[in-house]
C-alpha cells in the first residue's frame, strides 16, 4: 500500500501498461519531454524513450487519426487530448471513425486505443477548458467511456482500458489530479463496465461520477450526521458499458434514486439511468428519481460563480433531504 495522488496514479497506470506490452505507445501535446501540462505523464519519456512516448504538434486530428491507424494495424496507442473540450476539434475521430470502423467493415477493422483527457471543472478556466463532456462520448455506439474518481481506479481502469479491444475514452478529472488515495502495490487491473457501491445505506441511492463521487460521499456523511438519512453512494465509473445491475440492485434496497452529474443538464448520463430505472424498477421506487446537475449554461470562470453552478455536497444533501422529507 502507498498513498498516491490521482496524477501520479495516471503515471503509474501508463507505466504499468507500457512495461507489460511493448505495443503500448503514447502520444500527445507536451506529454513527453515536458511531462504533460497537468504533470500527469512526468518521467514516462525518460523511462520508455522517444520511440514510445512522443510529443506531437498541436494537431488534435492528427493525434487521434494517428492513434487509430496505429491501433488498426497492431499497436495499442494511448493518445492524450490535453483538455476534453478540444474533442470538439477532433470529434470526427471520436464520433465517426473509431466507433464505426469495426461495424462498417463487418468486423474486419479493430480499433483498440485509449484517449486520455483532462475533463471537468473546478480550475476556474472558463467555458472552453472546464466542460464535462462524458455525454458527448456516451451517445456514440461503438465507444466505451470511463471516468475514475480515485487513484486506485485510475490505475485499474486505465489498465483495463488499454487491454480492452475497443476504443475507450478515459476521462480524467482535472480537479482530482492533486487528490490522494491508498493504492495497493503491484499490478492493478480493474474491469470496465462495473460500478462500485462506495457507501452502503438504506434510504436513498446516489449515483455519481468522477469529481461528483467525493462530493456525493461528503453529502451522504452530512445527511447521516444531521438528519439520520442513510444514503448508498454508487460510483458509476464506467458509462459504457454501464453497470445497470449494480444501480438497479441499489435502488431495490433504497427505493429512491438521485444522480449527481457535473455535465450541463440536457441529455446528461443521469437521464439515461433514470430512464432505465423507470422502465425496469418503477415499482421499487418510493418517489420520483431526481437529477442533480450543473444548470444548462456554459461554465463561468470566476470562482464564486463556478462554485455555485457545480453540484456541491451541500446542494446534494439539501436536495436529497427535501425530496425524502416531502
Amino acid at each position: 500500500m502507498a498513498e498516491l495522488t490521482y496524477r501520479d496514479a495516471v503515471i503509474r497506470g501508463i507505466a504499468q501498461e507500457m512495461s507489460r506490452d511493448p505495443d503500448v505507445v503514447f502520444l500527445g501535446e507536451d506529454v513527453a519531454k515536458a511531462g504533460g501540462v497537468f504533470k500527469a505523464t512526468v518521467g514516462l519519456y525518460e523511462q520508455f524513450g522517444p520511440l514510445r512516448v512522443r510529443d506531437t504538434p498541436i494537431s488534435e486530428q492528427a493525434i487521434l487519426g494517428a492513434a487509430m491507424g496505429a491501433a488498426m494495424t497492431g499497436l495499442k496507442p494511448i493518445a492524450e487530448i490535453m483538455f476534453s473540450d478540444f474533442f470538439a476539434v477532433c470529434f470526427d475521430y471520436i464520433a465517426n471513425e473509431f466507433p464505426k470502423s469495426r461495424y462498417m467493415s463487418n468486423g474486419q477493422v479493430k480499433c483498440p486505443l485509449v484517449v486520455r483527457t483532462g475533463n471537468g471543472a473546478g480550475s476556474r478556466f472558463g467555458a472552453q477548458h472546464s466542460q464535462s463532456v462524458e455525454n458527448w462520448c456516451m451517445m456514440i455506439p461503438g465507444l466505451k467511456v470511463v471516468a475514475p474518481s480515485n487513484p486506485r481506479d485510475v490505475i485499474g481502469l486505465l489498465a483495463a482500458s488499454v487491454r480492452d479491444p475497443d476504443p475507450v475514452i478515459f476521462l480524467e478529472h482535472k480537479s482530482l489530479y492533486p487528490t490522494k488515495g491508498e493504492v495497493p502495490d503491484g499490478e492493478i487491473v480493474d474491469t470496465l463496465g462495473t460500478a462500485k457501491v462506495l457507501r452502503s445505506g438504506k434510504d436513498a441511492t446516489i449515483c455519481a461520477l468522477a469529481l461528483m463521487v467525493p462530493r456525493a460521499l461528503e453529502a451522504a456523511e452530512k445527511l447521516k450526521a444531521k438528519h439520520g438519512i442513510d444514503c448508498e453512494v454508487v460510483d458509476v465509473r464506467s458509462l459504457v458499458p454501464l453497470d445497470t445491475q449494480t444501480i438497479l440492485g441499489s435502488v431495490a434496497r433504497t427505493h429512491r434514486l438521485f444522480t449527481v452529474e457535473e455535465n450541463p443538464r440536457l441529455c446528461g448520463w443521469g437521464a439515461e439511468i433514470v430512464s432505465i430505472v423507470a422502465d425496469e424498477a418503477f415499482y421499487d421506487l418510493d418517489g420520483p428519481p431526481v437529477r442533480i446537475t450543473t444548470p444548462h449554461i456554459p461554465l463561468p470562470a470566476a470562482d464564486i460563480l463556478e462554485d455555485i453552478v457545480l453540484p456541491t455536497p451541500d446542494r446534494i444533501a439539501e436536495t436529497v433531504r427535501r425530496s425524502l422529507q416531502s
Partner: protein, 344 residues
C-alpha cells in the same frame, strides 16, 4: 538533388522491355480495364435501381489507381475515400465483392454494413474507404507510424481528391508525417472538381497539393495522372523513399472524372468541350495505344478486354442472384465481443 521527374526520366528507358516491362504493362492495362468495366457496370446498375444509395465512380481516373496498385507490394496499405471502388479493385478485391456491396447483397465485401463509400478489405491491404473528407490522412499516418515503430517494411498510401487539400486534416497530416518521417505516400487525384465546384475557384494556389508541398518541406511532385506508366514510376520512387526511411511524399496526379460526382449527377457545371478534351486523353485509350506502339498484338489486348468483360458479367449475375443480408447482422460487430451490448 535530382527531382522525382529527373529520376523517373532516368529510369524510363525505351521500348516494351524498358524499366516497366511487358508483363507489368499488361497487368497495368488489365487493372485499368477492370476498373473501367466495373465502374461502368456500377453506373448501369445504378440507373436500373439495383445499386442503391450513392456511388462515386472513378471513370477516367483509372491510371492513378492502377499505377499505384501496380507499384505496391503485398502488405502495403491503401486508405481510400468514398470514391474508392477503383482503389479497392486495383488491390485485387474481386469485382463480385464490390458490386455485391454496392447492390447491398449478402455477398458484398462488408455484407451491406458499409456500403459503397466504405469499401474495406483488410486481407487485401485496403484499410478502409473514408467518407469524411480528409479523415484518412492522419489515419494513414498512424499505420505508417506502426510500420516505423515495429520496423515493418510496408508503406501506407492515402488517396484523396483536390478538394481535400483545403481541410485541416490534410495540413495536420502532412506536417505530422513530415516531422515524424513516416513511410506514407499522399496521393492527390486532382480531377479539377470538388463535388460541383471547380477546385480553382476556392483554392489560393494553382496546384492544390503540389503547391503546398514546400510548406511541409516536401518535394513538389505534379504528374500526368492519366498515364499509368508515369504514375507507376512516380509511385515506385515514393515507395523506395518511404521504405528507405526517408519519409513521406505528396504526389499530385492531374486527371479528370468523366462521370458526375456521384449517383446520376449530369455534371452540367462543366464548360462546353471540357469532357471531350479529356476523353482524348482517356487513360485506357492512352494505354492501349502504348501497348500497340510497343508491339503488343491487338488480339492480346482484345483477349484481356473480353476476359474482363466476362468477369464483370459473371459478377453482375452472381450479385443479382445473391440474397440481401440477414437481419441479424444489424447488431453484430459494434464492439469487439461481436455484439452491441452497452449495458449489463
Amino acid at each position: 538533388m535530382a527531382t522525382a521527374k529527373d529520376r523517373a526520366q532516368a529510369k524510363a528507358g525505351s521500348g516494351l522491355n524498358d524499366d516497366i516491362g511487358e508483363q507489368k504493362r499488361l497487368e497495368l492495362y488489365r487493372t485499368q480495364v477492370v476498373l473501367r468495366e466495373a465502374e461502368q457496370r456500377a453506373y448501369d446498375l445504378f440507373l436500373q435501381n439495383l445499386v442503391k444509395g450513392t456511388s462515386h465512380l472513378s471513370l477516367g481516373q483509372e491510371a492513378v489507381a492502377a499505377g499505384f496498385a501496380g507499384a505496391m507490394k503485398p502488405g502495403d496499405l491503401s486508405f481510400c475515400t468514398y470514391r474508392g471502388h477503383a482503389h479497392t479493385l486495383a488491390r485485387g478485391v474481386p469485382v463480385e465483392k464490390v458490386l455485391g456491396e454496392l447492390m447491398q447483397r449478402d455477398n458484398g465485401l462488408m455484407r451491406g454494413k458499409g456500403g459503397s463509400m466504405h469499401l474495406t478489405s483488410v486481407d487485401h491491404g485496403v484499410m478502409g474507404s473514408y467518407a469524411i473528407i480528409g479523415a484518412h490522412l492522419p489515419i494513414a499516418c498512424g499505420a505508417a507510424w506502426r510500420a516505423q515503430y515495429k520496423g515493418d517494411k510496408d508503406v501506407s498510401v492515402c488517396f484523396f481528391g483536390d478538394g481535400t487539400t483545403n481541410i485541416g486534416a490534410f495540413h495536420e497530416a502532412l506536417n505530422f508525417a513530415a516531422v515524424w518521417k513516416l513511410p506514407v505516400i499522399f496521393v492527390c487525384e486532382n480531377n479539377l472538381y470538388m463535388e460541383y465546384t471547380p477546385i480553382g475557384d476556392v483554392t489560393a494556389v494553382p496546384q492544390p497539393a503540389a503547391d503546398r508541398a514546400s510548406a511541409y518541406g516536401l518535394e513538389r511532385i505534379l504528374i500526368d495522372g492519366n498515364d499509368a506508366d508515369v504514375v507507376y514510376r512516380a509511385a515506385q520512387i515514393a515507395f523506395d523513399k518511404a521504405r528507405a526511411g526517408e519519409g513521406p511524399s505528396l504526389i499530385e496526379c492531374l486527371t479528370y472524372r468523366q462521370s458526375g460526382h456521384s449517383r446520376a449527377d449530369p455534371a452540367k457545371y462543366r464548360p462546353e468541350g471540357e469532357l471531350d478534351r479529356w476523353k482524348l486523353r482517356d487513360p485506357i485509350k492512352i494505354y492501349r495505344e502504348r501497348l500497340l506502339q510497343f508491339g503488343v498484338a491487338e488480339r492480346v489486348i482484345a483477349d484481356i478486354d473480353a476476359q474482363v468483360r466476362k468477369v464483370v458479367d459473371d459478377a453482375t449475375e452472381a450479385c443479382k442472384a445473391a440474397p440481401p443480408p440477414p437481419l441479424d447482422i444489424i447488431a453484430t460487430d459494434v464492439y469487439a465481443d461481436g455484439g452491441w451490448a452497452w449495458r449489463n
